[in-house]
């Protein structure tokens, strides 16, 4: 029982690391640009597929991660520039439009990579298991993933809270016009943050594709869990995405373990409670 509980804690934390990669991009692009991009799930899946193809050709996992991220940066830029830009601040239009984009990406990916469940191959260094005290054996990859998530999270947090660039982004979240009036090129800032968000989604796909697998429909399953992260943490908040990812990751792991048939329901519970107490999430702001 305790061994199981510990295993699930690690499972949950590694899922949290993955969810954070996806949710942080989503939440930052909402915070700064007021854009709800429902194509993030499709970015994840496509990034994973691109990484898969790269890994199969070159045998390099690092190249796969970078390539998956870079491919999505290009795609994300095009979607932003030619489609999302036309929706202004109409969230309803953004949601419909980006859902449409996700359908197109999903169908094209299905056409190229087929409907089978595929795994991104991992290098030998990351394969195998780690033995923990107490006789717990656990896949090494998941530990590295947790580490990766923590490093990315720390880097993002430092960038956001401790650098001049981060200060500008935070100012942009608070009052975009004012930032623009001080002579800062907000448009360029948008492109930068959006590229970062796309890159995170693309890499998340490669990293996640190595243990959750890639298959048609995975884009929505991962997106909705990332949405719950964002709803619980509070839209637009990086810290919220961190805390939300840990909560959701752990809930999901224990939910699947204890109540496999109702695992979605387990996620729904805290969301309903939150709706009653803090409708805008833990770190969400009023108004």
């Amino acid at each position: 029982m305790t061994t199981g509980a510990i295993l699930q804690a690690i499972n949950g934390t590694s899922l949290a690391a993955l969810l954070f990669l996806l949710a942080s991009g989503f939440t930052l692009s909402f915070g700064l640009m007021r854009v709800v991009n429902m194509a993030h799930g499709a970015y994840y899946l496509l990034g994973g597929y691109i990484g898969l193809s790269i890994a199969e050709r070159t045998g390099s996992f690092t190249l796969a991660i970078l390539g998956g991220g870079a491919g999505i940066v290009v795609l994300g830029f095009l979607v932003d520039r030619f489609l999302i830009r036309h929706t202004g601040e109409n969230h309803l239009a953004q949601v419909l439009l980006t859902v449409g984009v996700a359908f197109v990406i999903g169908d094209v990916a299905l056409h190229i990579w087929g409907g089978d469940t595929l795994m991104v191959p991992t290098p030998a260094v990351l394969r195998g298991a780690v033995e923990l005290p107490g006789g717990i054996v656990y896949p090494r990859y998941r530990f590295v993933l947790i580490l990766f998530g923590v490093v990315v999270g720390a880097a993002l947090w430092l960038l956001y809270r401790k650098t001049a660039l981060g200060a500008v982004v935070r100012a942009g979240v608070d009052d975009r016009e004012q930032v623009s009036a001080t002579g800062i090129n907000v448009d360029r800032l948008f492109v930068l943050v959006s590229a970062l968000a796309s890159f995170l989604a693309g890499t998340a796909g490669v990293v996640g594709g190595a243990f959750l697998a890639l298959y048609p429909g995975a884009e929505w399953e991962i997106l909705v869990v990332a949405l719950v992260v964002v709803i619980i943490g509070g839209l637009g908040s990086l810290e919220g995405a961190m805390l939300g990812a840990v909560i959701v990751g752990l809930l999901d792991a224990y939910g699947r373990w204890l109540l496999p048939e109702f695992s979605y329901f387990v996620l729904f519970g805290p969301m309903a409670v939150l709706l009653l107490l803090r409708p805008r999430g833990i770190f969400g702001r009023e108004g």
């Binding site: 489609l83 969230h91 419909l96 359908f103 999903g106 094209v108 964002v230 839209l235 048939e261 009653l276």
Partner: protein, 319 residues
């Protein structure tokens, strides 16, 4: 309602009644489906077009009532007369619960309803001992009420048409009522309605539940039409497509959602017959609808009519 409009509506209704006599079973099935999804789109549009709330969980009410009918009729031999009210009740109770989402607005409302929708899909998908998993529940019988028994798709077509027309009339009464006016007031400016003393949360909650009940009714019609139900009925795609239908047809109108249903389902049937990437085409329709026709077909028609009416004016009025 003025004369010409009544005439057009009457002609449309006449066509709808005559259609199964001239069209084959393929068209009859497709058109029945259009009515059912039009009704679902109409339920979504009560929130979208009148209250300004964009719900993406209506497939849940639709699916819960469809599953209720299927489970009661197939597994427990419950007659239609009991299964249908139970199904609508089940969908409505779920709407009472999901209605919590009206504590939020805007993006939060959209995201929360998406998450709610996935809970129901997840249950349908994973709780296989109860829902039959991905296979769902098959061989649902035609509805029967005592001695009256639907025997064919031909008869069922007329039943669906009758229900849909009755719903449209009821819907018209609802949106013309003070309640409907209040909803549109909230859509236009919630803060103003609140300062006028309206309990806006309660109005939106009521609208949400009514809309959920209507979606449940669509679910009942759906399960008797399909004769089976599986997790696809609860899928996110159904919720988004219903919203898309309302928008493509013309949000805030009664005919719009049905028009949208005809366009979307017609297009999907047509494209999927020759093009493998039809789902991508549907995605492109989403994008096109948002970019070029945000007011939908009814909006386009209205604008065209307004332009046509205004066009000769400069010559006659400007001295």
């Amino acid at each position: 309602m003025n004369g010409p409009r009544l005439l057009v509506l009457g002609a449309g209704l006449g066509l709808a009644v005559l259609l199964p006599h001239v069209a084959g079973p393929f068209w009859m099935t497709l058109v029945t489906q259009m009515y059912i999804f039009g009704l679902l789109a109409l339920s979504v549009d009560l929130l979208l077009g009148h209250a300004g709330l964009f719900s993406l969980c209506h497939a849940s009410f639709f699916a819960v009532s469809a599953y209720t009918v299927a489970i009661l009729q197939v597994r427990h031999d419950v007659p239609t007369a009991l299964a249908v009210p139970a199904a609508i009740l089940a969908g409505t109770v779920l709407a009472l619960l999901f209605g919590l989402a009206v504590r939020t607005r805007g993006v939060y409302f959209i995201l929360i309803t998406i998450a709610f929708g996935f809970v129901v899909w997840g249950l349908a998908h994973r709780w296989s001992s109860f829902t039959g998993g991905d296979n769902g529940i098959t061989s649902v019988p035609f509805p029967a009420l005592g001695p009256f028994r639907i025997q064919s798709t031909f008869e069922y077509y007329h039943l669906v048409l009758a229900v849909v027309v009755l719903c449209a009339i009821g819907y018209r009464t609802l949106i013309a009522s003070p309640f409907g006016l209040t909803l549109r007031g909230i859509k236009a400016s919630e803060s103003r309605m609140r300062s006028l003393g309206y309990h806006t949360d309660l109005h939106l909650y009521t609208a949400f539940v009514v809309s959920g009940a209507l979606a449940s009714l669509a679910g009942v019609l759906y399960v008797y039409h399909n004769r089976f139900v599986n997790p696809v009925a609860a899928a996110f795609q159904i919720s988004v497509e219903a919203a898309l239908m309302a928008i493509v047809g013309g949000s805030g109108t009664i005919l719009g959602p049905f028009l949208g249903s005809v366009v979307i389902l017609g297009l999907r049937n047509w494209v999927s017959s020759f093009f493998e990437l039809w789902a991508a085409v549907m995605g492109a329709v989403f994008i096109a609808a948002v970019l070029w026709a945000p007011e939908g077909l009814v909006g386009l028609a209205r604008r065209a009519r307004a332009v046509a009416r205004r066009a000769p004016e400069p010559e006659t009025t400007v001295p």
